[in-house]
Amino acid sequence: METIFDVENFNLWYGDNHALHNINMKIEKNAITALIGPSGCGKSTFIKTLNRMNDLIPSVKLSGSIRYRGQEIVNSDINVYNLRKEVGMVFQKPNPFPMSVYDNIAYGPRTHGIKNKSQLNDIVEKSLRDAAIFDELKDRLKDSALGLSGGQQQRLCIARALAVKPDVLLMDEPTSALDPISTSKIEELVLDLKKEYSIVIVTHNMQQAVRISDYTAFFLLGDLVEFDKTDKIFSKPSDKRTEDYITGRFG
Protein backbone atom coordinates (compact mmCIF):
# COMPACT_ATOMS: atom_id res chain seq x y z
CA MET A 1 0.00 0.00 0.00
CA GLU A 2 1.12 3.49 -0.85
CA THR A 3 0.41 6.41 1.45
CA ILE A 4 -0.80 9.73 0.00
CA PHE A 5 -1.30 11.67 3.25
CA ASP A 6 0.72 10.88 6.34
CA VAL A 7 -0.75 12.66 9.36
CA GLU A 8 1.30 12.75 12.57
CA ASN A 9 0.40 14.34 15.91
CA PHE A 10 -1.73 16.91 14.14
CA ASN A 11 -3.55 19.54 16.23
CA LEU A 12 -5.77 22.42 15.19
CA TRP A 13 -7.15 25.37 17.14
CA TYR A 14 -9.80 27.95 16.23
CA GLY A 15 -8.52 30.68 18.52
CA ASP A 16 -8.73 29.00 21.93
CA ASN A 17 -10.98 26.20 20.76
CA HIS A 18 -8.84 23.07 20.42
CA ALA A 19 -10.82 21.47 17.57
CA LEU A 20 -8.57 18.55 16.57
CA HIS A 21 -6.44 16.63 19.07
CA ASN A 22 -3.33 14.76 18.12
CA ILE A 23 -4.55 13.08 14.96
CA ASN A 24 -2.47 10.23 13.52
CA MET A 25 -3.43 8.46 10.32
CA LYS A 26 -2.06 7.30 7.00
CA ILE A 27 -4.44 7.85 4.08
CA GLU A 28 -3.95 5.36 1.30
CA LYS A 29 -3.52 6.14 -2.37
CA ASN A 30 -6.27 5.08 -4.80
CA ALA A 31 -8.61 4.19 -1.99
CA ILE A 32 -11.74 5.76 -0.60
CA THR A 33 -11.40 6.92 2.98
CA ALA A 34 -14.60 7.85 4.77
CA LEU A 35 -14.67 10.25 7.72
CA ILE A 36 -17.64 9.70 10.03
CA GLY A 37 -18.72 11.11 13.37
CA PRO A 38 -21.40 13.32 14.91
CA SER A 39 -21.81 16.97 13.88
CA GLY A 40 -19.17 19.29 15.19
CA CYS A 41 -16.58 16.58 15.79
CA GLY A 42 -14.13 18.15 13.33
CA LYS A 43 -14.57 16.20 10.09
CA SER A 44 -14.87 19.28 7.89
CA THR A 45 -12.07 20.96 9.77
CA PHE A 46 -9.81 17.98 9.18
CA ILE A 47 -10.60 17.58 5.48
CA LYS A 48 -9.97 21.29 4.88
CA THR A 49 -6.46 21.06 6.28
CA LEU A 50 -5.58 18.53 3.58
CA ASN A 51 -5.68 21.27 0.92
CA ARG A 52 -5.02 24.17 3.27
CA MET A 53 -8.47 25.71 2.84
CA ASN A 54 -8.21 26.51 6.53
CA ASP A 55 -5.66 29.19 5.63
CA LEU A 56 -8.67 31.34 4.80
CA ILE A 57 -9.78 31.46 8.44
CA PRO A 58 -7.51 33.88 10.29
CA SER A 59 -7.98 32.38 13.77
CA VAL A 60 -6.75 28.89 12.81
CA LYS A 61 -3.49 27.61 14.32
CA LEU A 62 -1.88 24.28 13.53
CA SER A 63 0.78 22.00 14.99
CA GLY A 64 2.17 18.61 14.08
CA SER A 65 2.75 17.27 10.63
CA ILE A 66 0.84 16.26 7.51
CA ARG A 67 2.91 15.05 4.58
CA TYR A 68 1.36 14.93 1.12
CA ARG A 69 3.49 12.63 -1.04
CA GLY A 70 6.29 13.21 1.42
CA GLN A 71 6.04 17.03 1.40
CA GLU A 72 5.19 18.80 4.64
CA ILE A 73 2.05 20.93 4.23
CA VAL A 74 1.49 22.08 7.83
CA ASN A 75 2.97 25.51 8.58
CA SER A 76 5.28 25.20 5.60
CA ASP A 77 5.59 27.62 2.71
CA ILE A 78 4.60 25.27 -0.06
CA ASN A 79 2.70 26.71 -3.02
CA VAL A 80 -0.89 26.35 -1.78
CA TYR A 81 -2.33 27.09 -5.22
CA ASN A 82 -0.56 24.06 -6.64
CA LEU A 83 -1.52 22.00 -3.60
CA ARG A 84 -5.18 22.87 -4.14
CA LYS A 85 -4.83 22.02 -7.80
CA GLU A 86 -3.58 18.54 -6.85
CA VAL A 87 -5.94 18.10 -3.92
CA GLY A 88 -9.34 19.14 -5.27
CA MET A 89 -12.45 19.72 -3.23
CA VAL A 90 -16.19 19.16 -3.60
CA PHE A 91 -18.42 20.92 -1.11
CA GLN A 92 -21.55 20.01 0.78
CA LYS A 93 -23.76 22.45 -1.04
CA PRO A 94 -23.30 22.31 -4.82
CA ASN A 95 -21.59 25.58 -5.72
CA PRO A 96 -21.37 25.97 -9.50
CA PHE A 97 -20.31 29.48 -10.54
CA PRO A 98 -22.98 31.66 -12.17
CA MET A 99 -21.56 30.96 -15.62
CA SER A 100 -22.20 28.49 -18.41
CA VAL A 101 -21.57 24.78 -17.90
CA TYR A 102 -18.56 25.08 -20.19
CA ASP A 103 -17.05 28.04 -18.35
CA ASN A 104 -17.51 26.29 -15.03
CA ILE A 105 -15.43 23.33 -16.16
CA ALA A 106 -12.90 25.52 -17.94
CA TYR A 107 -12.50 27.76 -14.89
CA GLY A 108 -9.79 25.68 -13.23
CA PRO A 109 -7.69 25.03 -16.33
CA ARG A 110 -7.93 28.71 -17.29
CA THR A 111 -6.87 29.68 -13.78
CA HIS A 112 -3.76 27.57 -14.24
CA GLY A 113 -2.93 29.20 -17.54
CA ILE A 114 -4.51 27.05 -20.26
CA LYS A 115 -5.89 29.33 -22.98
CA ASN A 116 -5.84 27.15 -26.06
CA LYS A 117 -9.44 26.71 -27.23
CA SER A 118 -9.18 23.15 -28.53
CA GLN A 119 -7.23 22.02 -25.48
CA LEU A 120 -9.98 23.51 -23.28
CA ASN A 121 -12.65 21.78 -25.35
CA ASP A 122 -10.91 18.46 -24.81
CA ILE A 123 -10.58 19.03 -21.09
CA VAL A 124 -14.24 20.02 -20.75
CA GLU A 125 -15.40 16.95 -22.62
CA LYS A 126 -13.11 14.57 -20.75
CA SER A 127 -14.02 15.99 -17.35
CA LEU A 128 -17.74 15.75 -18.08
CA ARG A 129 -17.28 12.17 -19.27
CA ASP A 130 -15.25 11.27 -16.20
CA ALA A 131 -17.98 12.72 -14.02
CA ALA A 132 -20.53 10.64 -15.97
CA ILE A 133 -22.57 13.68 -16.93
CA PHE A 134 -21.45 14.31 -20.51
CA ASP A 135 -24.50 12.77 -22.14
CA GLU A 136 -26.87 14.77 -19.97
CA LEU A 137 -25.10 18.07 -20.56
CA LYS A 138 -23.52 17.88 -23.99
CA ASP A 139 -26.29 19.99 -25.52
CA ARG A 140 -26.37 22.43 -22.65
CA LEU A 141 -22.72 23.51 -22.50
CA LYS A 142 -23.68 27.13 -23.15
CA ASP A 143 -26.54 27.20 -20.64
CA SER A 144 -26.14 28.64 -17.18
CA ALA A 145 -25.04 26.05 -14.64
CA LEU A 146 -27.49 27.53 -12.16
CA GLY A 147 -30.37 26.07 -14.18
CA LEU A 148 -29.30 22.46 -13.56
CA SER A 149 -30.87 20.22 -10.93
CA GLY A 150 -29.10 19.84 -7.57
CA GLY A 151 -27.71 16.43 -8.47
CA GLN A 152 -26.48 17.65 -11.85
CA GLN A 153 -24.91 20.68 -10.21
CA GLN A 154 -23.00 18.46 -7.80
CA ARG A 155 -21.71 16.22 -10.59
CA LEU A 156 -20.79 19.36 -12.50
CA CYS A 157 -18.79 20.46 -9.46
CA ILE A 158 -17.04 17.10 -9.46
CA ALA A 159 -16.28 17.52 -13.17
CA ARG A 160 -15.00 21.01 -12.45
CA ALA A 161 -12.68 19.61 -9.80
CA LEU A 162 -11.48 16.86 -12.17
CA ALA A 163 -10.70 19.41 -14.88
CA VAL A 164 -7.50 20.53 -13.17
CA LYS A 165 -6.27 16.92 -13.10
CA PRO A 166 -6.00 16.47 -9.36
CA ASP A 167 -4.52 13.49 -7.52
CA VAL A 168 -6.87 13.58 -4.59
CA LEU A 169 -10.52 14.52 -4.28
CA LEU A 170 -11.80 15.78 -0.94
CA MET A 171 -15.56 15.56 -0.63
CA ASP A 172 -17.37 17.12 2.32
CA GLU A 173 -20.79 15.45 2.60
CA PRO A 174 -21.29 15.72 -1.17
CA THR A 175 -24.69 14.04 -1.13
CA SER A 176 -26.27 15.46 1.98
CA ALA A 177 -28.22 18.05 0.00
CA LEU A 178 -29.37 15.58 -2.67
CA ASP A 179 -32.25 13.18 -3.30
CA PRO A 180 -31.69 9.37 -3.16
CA ILE A 181 -31.36 8.89 -6.93
CA SER A 182 -28.78 11.65 -7.32
CA THR A 183 -27.03 10.26 -4.27
CA SER A 184 -26.67 6.79 -5.74
CA LYS A 185 -25.41 8.28 -9.02
CA ILE A 186 -22.72 10.12 -7.13
CA GLU A 187 -21.81 7.03 -5.12
CA GLU A 188 -21.35 5.03 -8.34
CA LEU A 189 -19.26 7.84 -9.74
CA VAL A 190 -17.05 7.98 -6.66
CA LEU A 191 -16.46 4.22 -6.80
CA ASP A 192 -15.51 4.60 -10.43
CA LEU A 193 -13.14 7.50 -9.76
CA LYS A 194 -11.19 5.46 -7.22
CA LYS A 195 -9.15 3.87 -10.02
CA GLU A 196 -7.48 7.15 -10.84
CA TYR A 197 -7.89 9.26 -7.72
CA SER A 198 -7.47 8.99 -4.00
CA ILE A 199 -10.69 10.05 -2.32
CA VAL A 200 -11.43 11.33 1.16
CA ILE A 201 -15.14 11.70 1.79
CA VAL A 202 -16.98 13.03 4.82
CA THR A 203 -20.35 11.41 5.28
CA HIS A 204 -23.19 11.51 7.72
CA ASN A 205 -24.60 8.36 6.27
CA MET A 206 -23.27 5.09 7.74
CA GLN A 207 -24.62 3.01 4.85
CA GLN A 208 -22.84 5.24 2.42
CA ALA A 209 -19.55 4.69 4.22
CA VAL A 210 -20.13 0.91 4.11
CA ARG A 211 -21.14 0.96 0.45
CA ILE A 212 -18.26 2.90 -0.96
CA SER A 213 -15.31 3.24 1.38
CA ASP A 214 -12.25 1.09 1.90
CA TYR A 215 -11.18 2.79 5.12
CA THR A 216 -13.19 4.58 7.74
CA ALA A 217 -12.06 7.08 10.33
CA PHE A 218 -14.36 7.74 13.27
CA PHE A 219 -14.03 11.19 14.83
CA LEU A 220 -15.53 12.22 18.14
CA LEU A 221 -15.19 15.65 19.78
CA GLY A 222 -11.96 16.37 17.95
CA ASP A 223 -10.35 12.98 18.59
CA LEU A 224 -9.71 10.35 15.97
CA VAL A 225 -11.19 7.45 17.93
CA GLU A 226 -10.64 4.68 15.44
CA PHE A 227 -9.23 4.32 11.95
CA ASP A 228 -9.30 1.02 10.14
CA LYS A 229 -10.57 -0.95 7.19
CA THR A 230 -14.28 -0.19 6.72
CA ASP A 231 -15.25 -3.88 7.10
CA LYS A 232 -13.43 -4.03 10.39
CA ILE A 233 -14.94 -0.79 11.76
CA PHE A 234 -18.47 -1.85 10.96
CA SER A 235 -18.15 -5.51 11.99
CA LYS A 236 -15.68 -5.60 14.86
CA PRO A 237 -14.93 -2.09 16.10
CA SER A 238 -12.24 -2.15 18.73
CA ASP A 239 -13.46 0.94 20.61
CA LYS A 240 -16.68 0.97 22.61
CA ARG A 241 -17.49 4.51 21.42
CA THR A 242 -17.24 3.48 17.76
CA GLU A 243 -19.58 0.61 18.41
CA ASP A 244 -22.06 2.88 20.16
CA TYR A 245 -21.96 5.33 17.27
CA ILE A 246 -22.36 2.87 14.41
CA THR A 247 -25.14 1.04 16.17
CA GLY A 248 -26.91 4.35 16.50
CA ARG A 249 -26.69 4.81 20.22
CA PHE A 250 -25.75 8.48 19.78
CA GLY A 251 -25.03 10.93 17.01
Binding site: M53, N82, F91, N95, P96, P98, G108, T111, C157, R160
Partner: protein
Amino acid sequence: MSDNAKPSLQQKSLPFGRSLYSHALQSCMLLCIGITVALVFFLILYILIRAIPYFSWEILTTKPSYLRGTIGVLPDILNTIYLVFTALVIVLPLGVGAAIYLNEYAKSQKLVKVIEYAVETLAGIPSIIYGLVGMLFFCQFLSLQTSLLAGSLTLVIMSIPVIIRTTQESLKTVPNGYREGAFGLGSARWHMIRTVVLPCCIDGIVTGCILAAGRMLGESAALLFTAGFAHALHGYIDGITSSGATLTVALYVYAKEQGEFEVAFVIAAILLVLCFITNYLAQAYGRHMKKIKQ
Protein backbone atom coordinates in the same frame (compact mmCIF):
# COMPACT_ATOMS: atom_id res chain seq x y z
CA MET B 1 -66.12 30.87 24.23
CA SER B 2 -69.41 29.73 22.77
CA ASP B 3 -69.80 28.95 19.07
CA ASN B 4 -72.11 31.80 18.21
CA ALA B 5 -69.49 34.36 19.36
CA LYS B 6 -67.43 33.52 16.25
CA PRO B 7 -67.89 36.03 13.40
CA SER B 8 -70.10 34.60 10.71
CA LEU B 9 -68.35 34.06 7.37
CA GLN B 10 -71.59 34.98 5.62
CA GLN B 11 -71.61 38.47 7.04
CA LYS B 12 -70.27 40.69 4.27
CA SER B 13 -69.71 44.12 5.75
CA LEU B 14 -67.74 45.14 8.78
CA PRO B 15 -69.54 46.50 11.86
CA PHE B 16 -70.43 50.15 11.41
CA GLY B 17 -67.72 51.63 13.70
CA ARG B 18 -64.90 49.70 12.08
CA SER B 19 -66.14 50.40 8.61
CA LEU B 20 -66.21 54.14 9.32
CA TYR B 21 -62.71 54.02 10.73
CA SER B 22 -61.43 52.09 7.76
CA HIS B 23 -63.00 54.53 5.29
CA ALA B 24 -61.60 57.53 7.11
CA LEU B 25 -58.12 56.00 7.04
CA GLN B 26 -58.39 55.26 3.34
CA SER B 27 -59.48 58.79 2.54
CA CYS B 28 -56.57 60.16 4.55
CA MET B 29 -54.11 58.08 2.58
CA LEU B 30 -55.68 59.09 -0.72
CA LEU B 31 -55.36 62.71 0.32
CA CYS B 32 -51.65 62.25 1.12
CA ILE B 33 -51.01 60.64 -2.23
CA GLY B 34 -52.99 63.36 -3.94
CA ILE B 35 -50.98 66.14 -2.32
CA THR B 36 -47.68 64.47 -3.15
CA VAL B 37 -48.55 63.90 -6.78
CA ALA B 38 -49.98 67.38 -7.13
CA LEU B 39 -46.83 68.96 -5.69
CA VAL B 40 -44.54 67.04 -8.02
CA PHE B 41 -46.64 67.86 -11.08
CA PHE B 42 -46.98 71.48 -10.09
CA LEU B 43 -43.22 71.77 -9.72
CA ILE B 44 -42.47 70.15 -13.05
CA LEU B 45 -45.18 72.06 -14.89
CA TYR B 46 -44.20 75.36 -13.31
CA ILE B 47 -40.58 74.95 -14.32
CA LEU B 48 -41.47 73.91 -17.86
CA ILE B 49 -44.00 76.71 -18.32
CA ARG B 50 -41.51 79.29 -17.16
CA ALA B 51 -38.66 77.79 -19.18
CA ILE B 52 -40.20 76.92 -22.52
CA PRO B 53 -40.72 80.49 -23.82
CA TYR B 54 -37.00 81.14 -23.49
CA PHE B 55 -35.81 77.83 -24.88
CA SER B 56 -33.91 78.21 -28.09
CA TRP B 57 -31.26 76.38 -29.92
CA GLU B 58 -29.07 79.41 -29.40
CA ILE B 59 -29.21 79.41 -25.63
CA LEU B 60 -28.23 75.76 -25.58
CA THR B 61 -25.32 76.09 -27.97
CA THR B 62 -23.62 79.38 -27.21
CA LYS B 63 -21.68 80.99 -24.44
CA PRO B 64 -22.83 84.23 -22.86
CA SER B 65 -21.53 87.33 -24.53
CA TYR B 66 -21.50 90.71 -22.82
CA LEU B 67 -20.65 92.36 -26.10
CA ARG B 68 -23.76 91.14 -27.83
CA GLY B 69 -25.74 91.00 -24.61
CA THR B 70 -26.75 87.37 -25.24
CA ILE B 71 -26.89 84.54 -22.81
CA GLY B 72 -26.00 80.89 -23.45
CA VAL B 73 -25.58 77.94 -21.16
CA LEU B 74 -23.34 75.73 -23.30
CA PRO B 75 -20.29 76.25 -21.05
CA ASP B 76 -22.32 75.28 -18.01
CA ILE B 77 -23.57 72.10 -19.68
CA LEU B 78 -20.05 71.14 -20.76
CA ASN B 79 -18.61 71.98 -17.33
CA THR B 80 -21.19 69.76 -15.69
CA ILE B 81 -20.45 66.83 -17.98
CA TYR B 82 -16.73 67.34 -17.64
CA LEU B 83 -16.88 67.56 -13.87
CA VAL B 84 -19.14 64.56 -13.37
CA PHE B 85 -17.13 62.46 -15.82
CA THR B 86 -13.77 63.34 -14.25
CA ALA B 87 -15.09 62.71 -10.75
CA LEU B 88 -16.52 59.31 -11.75
CA VAL B 89 -13.27 58.23 -13.40
CA ILE B 90 -11.43 58.99 -10.17
CA VAL B 91 -14.00 57.82 -7.65
CA LEU B 92 -14.80 54.47 -9.23
CA PRO B 93 -11.44 52.77 -8.78
CA LEU B 94 -11.05 54.35 -5.34
CA GLY B 95 -14.48 53.42 -4.00
CA VAL B 96 -14.67 49.97 -5.59
CA GLY B 97 -11.11 49.24 -4.48
CA ALA B 98 -11.88 50.28 -0.91
CA ALA B 99 -15.03 48.16 -0.84
CA ILE B 100 -13.13 45.15 -2.19
CA TYR B 101 -10.47 45.62 0.43
CA LEU B 102 -13.02 45.87 3.25
CA ASN B 103 -15.03 42.89 2.12
CA GLU B 104 -12.46 40.51 0.66
CA TYR B 105 -9.08 41.29 2.20
CA ALA B 106 -9.36 42.95 5.60
CA LYS B 107 -8.56 40.48 8.37
CA SER B 108 -9.50 42.63 11.35
CA GLN B 109 -13.26 42.85 11.70
CA LYS B 110 -12.78 45.69 14.19
CA LEU B 111 -11.01 47.84 11.63
CA VAL B 112 -13.72 47.09 9.08
CA LYS B 113 -16.43 48.18 11.55
CA VAL B 114 -14.60 51.43 12.30
CA ILE B 115 -14.16 52.24 8.62
CA GLU B 116 -17.76 51.36 7.83
CA TYR B 117 -18.90 53.67 10.61
CA ALA B 118 -16.73 56.46 9.24
CA VAL B 119 -18.16 55.91 5.75
CA GLU B 120 -21.72 56.04 7.10
CA THR B 121 -20.94 59.29 8.83
CA LEU B 122 -19.27 60.80 5.78
CA ALA B 123 -22.35 60.00 3.74
CA GLY B 124 -24.48 62.14 6.02
CA ILE B 125 -22.33 65.28 6.14
CA PRO B 126 -23.91 68.36 4.50
CA SER B 127 -22.22 69.03 1.19
CA ILE B 128 -21.35 72.65 1.99
CA ILE B 129 -18.81 71.23 4.43
CA TYR B 130 -17.19 69.25 1.64
CA GLY B 131 -17.09 72.51 -0.28
CA LEU B 132 -15.36 74.31 2.56
CA VAL B 133 -12.80 71.57 3.10
CA GLY B 134 -12.29 71.22 -0.64
CA MET B 135 -11.60 74.93 -0.93
CA LEU B 136 -9.09 74.93 1.90
CA PHE B 137 -7.38 71.67 0.93
CA PHE B 138 -7.51 71.41 -2.87
CA CYS B 139 -7.74 75.06 -3.90
CA GLN B 140 -5.43 76.60 -1.33
CA PHE B 141 -3.22 73.91 0.25
CA LEU B 142 -2.63 72.04 -3.03
CA SER B 143 -2.84 75.38 -4.92
CA LEU B 144 -5.24 74.10 -7.58
CA GLN B 145 -7.13 77.44 -7.36
CA THR B 146 -10.84 77.38 -8.06
CA SER B 147 -10.86 74.97 -10.96
CA LEU B 148 -12.82 72.10 -12.42
CA LEU B 149 -10.14 69.76 -11.06
CA ALA B 150 -10.61 71.02 -7.51
CA GLY B 151 -14.38 70.71 -7.99
CA SER B 152 -14.05 67.16 -9.31
CA LEU B 153 -11.85 66.13 -6.41
CA THR B 154 -14.37 67.56 -3.97
CA LEU B 155 -17.11 65.59 -5.69
CA VAL B 156 -14.87 62.52 -5.48
CA ILE B 157 -14.56 62.82 -1.70
CA MET B 158 -18.25 63.46 -1.44
CA SER B 159 -19.32 60.42 -3.43
CA ILE B 160 -16.79 57.89 -2.18
CA PRO B 161 -19.19 56.77 0.59
CA VAL B 162 -21.98 56.12 -1.94
CA ILE B 163 -19.71 54.01 -4.14
CA ILE B 164 -18.17 52.12 -1.22
CA ARG B 165 -21.55 51.35 0.27
CA THR B 166 -23.30 50.19 -2.86
CA THR B 167 -20.29 48.09 -3.91
CA GLN B 168 -19.99 46.53 -0.47
CA GLU B 169 -23.65 45.71 -0.41
CA SER B 170 -23.43 43.87 -3.69
CA LEU B 171 -20.20 42.10 -2.64
CA LYS B 172 -22.05 40.81 0.39
CA THR B 173 -24.71 39.22 -1.76
CA VAL B 174 -22.15 36.98 -3.51
CA PRO B 175 -22.48 33.52 -1.90
CA ASN B 176 -19.38 32.33 -0.07
CA GLY B 177 -19.66 29.02 -1.92
CA TYR B 178 -18.40 30.79 -5.07
CA ARG B 179 -15.30 31.98 -3.27
CA GLU B 180 -14.62 28.57 -1.73
CA GLY B 181 -15.16 26.91 -5.10
CA ALA B 182 -12.61 29.16 -6.77
CA PHE B 183 -10.08 28.84 -3.94
CA GLY B 184 -10.56 25.07 -4.00
CA LEU B 185 -9.50 25.01 -7.64
CA GLY B 186 -6.28 26.82 -6.81
CA SER B 187 -7.22 30.44 -7.58
CA ALA B 188 -5.29 33.20 -5.91
CA ARG B 189 -7.47 35.76 -4.17
CA TRP B 190 -7.33 38.53 -6.75
CA HIS B 191 -7.95 36.08 -9.58
CA MET B 192 -10.98 34.75 -7.69
CA ILE B 193 -12.30 38.29 -7.13
CA ARG B 194 -11.75 39.32 -10.75
CA THR B 195 -13.24 36.23 -12.35
CA VAL B 196 -16.04 35.23 -9.96
CA VAL B 197 -16.96 37.94 -7.46
CA LEU B 198 -16.81 41.13 -9.54
CA PRO B 199 -18.85 39.77 -12.47
CA CYS B 200 -21.63 39.09 -9.95
CA CYS B 201 -21.41 42.66 -8.66
CA ILE B 202 -21.37 44.64 -11.89
CA ASP B 203 -25.02 45.65 -11.51
CA GLY B 204 -24.50 46.91 -7.99
CA ILE B 205 -21.48 48.92 -9.05
CA VAL B 206 -23.20 50.43 -12.08
CA THR B 207 -26.25 51.32 -10.00
CA GLY B 208 -24.00 52.99 -7.42
CA CYS B 209 -22.31 54.88 -10.22
CA ILE B 210 -25.58 56.20 -11.60
CA LEU B 211 -26.70 57.19 -8.11
CA ALA B 212 -23.44 59.02 -7.54
CA ALA B 213 -23.69 60.75 -10.93
CA GLY B 214 -27.21 61.86 -10.06
CA ARG B 215 -26.02 63.32 -6.81
CA MET B 216 -23.15 65.12 -8.53
CA LEU B 217 -25.52 66.59 -11.12
CA GLY B 218 -27.62 68.12 -8.40
CA GLU B 219 -24.71 69.32 -6.32
CA SER B 220 -24.06 73.01 -5.93
CA ALA B 221 -22.94 73.77 -2.41
CA ALA B 222 -19.74 71.73 -2.68
CA LEU B 223 -18.86 73.40 -5.99
CA LEU B 224 -19.50 77.08 -5.21
CA PHE B 225 -16.14 77.44 -3.47
CA THR B 226 -14.17 74.90 -5.45
CA ALA B 227 -15.12 74.95 -9.13
CA GLY B 228 -16.09 78.60 -9.31
CA PHE B 229 -18.46 80.62 -11.48
CA ALA B 230 -16.86 81.15 -14.89
CA HIS B 231 -19.00 80.68 -18.00
CA ALA B 232 -16.10 80.47 -20.42
CA LEU B 233 -15.51 77.74 -22.96
CA HIS B 234 -12.25 75.84 -22.67
CA GLY B 235 -10.43 73.09 -24.47
CA TYR B 236 -10.43 69.63 -23.06
CA ILE B 237 -6.98 69.90 -21.49
CA ASP B 238 -6.84 73.46 -20.17
CA GLY B 239 -10.43 73.14 -18.97
CA ILE B 240 -9.35 71.11 -15.99
CA THR B 241 -7.37 73.96 -14.44
CA SER B 242 -9.86 76.71 -15.18
CA SER B 243 -12.74 77.83 -13.09
CA GLY B 244 -16.15 76.83 -14.39
CA ALA B 245 -19.74 76.87 -13.22
CA THR B 246 -21.87 73.77 -13.44
CA LEU B 247 -25.56 74.00 -14.27
CA THR B 248 -26.62 74.16 -10.63
CA VAL B 249 -24.06 76.79 -9.74
CA ALA B 250 -24.95 78.78 -12.85
CA LEU B 251 -28.59 78.57 -11.87
CA TYR B 252 -27.75 80.08 -8.51
CA VAL B 253 -25.65 82.82 -10.04
CA TYR B 254 -28.21 83.79 -12.68
CA ALA B 255 -31.14 83.78 -10.30
CA LYS B 256 -29.60 85.24 -7.19
CA GLU B 257 -26.88 87.59 -8.38
CA GLN B 258 -28.09 88.69 -11.78
CA GLY B 259 -31.83 88.34 -11.39
CA GLU B 260 -32.04 86.55 -14.75
CA PHE B 261 -34.88 84.25 -13.84
CA GLU B 262 -35.58 83.23 -17.44
CA VAL B 263 -32.15 81.65 -17.77
CA ALA B 264 -32.45 80.12 -14.33
CA PHE B 265 -35.63 78.36 -15.39
CA VAL B 266 -34.09 77.16 -18.62
CA ILE B 267 -31.25 75.65 -16.59
CA ALA B 268 -33.74 74.13 -14.18
CA ALA B 269 -35.51 72.49 -17.08
CA ILE B 270 -32.23 71.10 -18.41
CA LEU B 271 -31.45 69.69 -14.97
CA LEU B 272 -34.89 68.13 -14.79
CA VAL B 273 -34.29 66.40 -18.10
CA LEU B 274 -30.86 65.17 -16.98
CA CYS B 275 -32.46 63.87 -13.81
CA PHE B 276 -35.05 61.96 -15.80
CA ILE B 277 -32.33 60.54 -18.01
CA THR B 278 -30.20 59.25 -15.10
CA ASN B 279 -33.23 57.73 -13.40
CA TYR B 280 -34.30 56.15 -16.65
CA LEU B 281 -30.82 54.76 -17.24
CA ALA B 282 -30.71 53.26 -13.75
CA GLN B 283 -34.06 51.57 -14.24
CA ALA B 284 -33.38 50.44 -17.80
CA TYR B 285 -30.07 48.98 -16.67
CA GLY B 286 -31.77 47.14 -13.82
CA ARG B 287 -34.34 45.67 -16.21
CA HIS B 288 -31.64 44.75 -18.70
CA MET B 289 -29.61 42.88 -16.07
CA LYS B 290 -32.71 41.05 -14.84
CA LYS B 291 -33.38 39.86 -18.38
CA ILE B 292 -29.81 38.66 -18.85
CA LYS B 293 -29.93 36.68 -15.62
CA GLN B 294 -33.01 34.74 -16.64
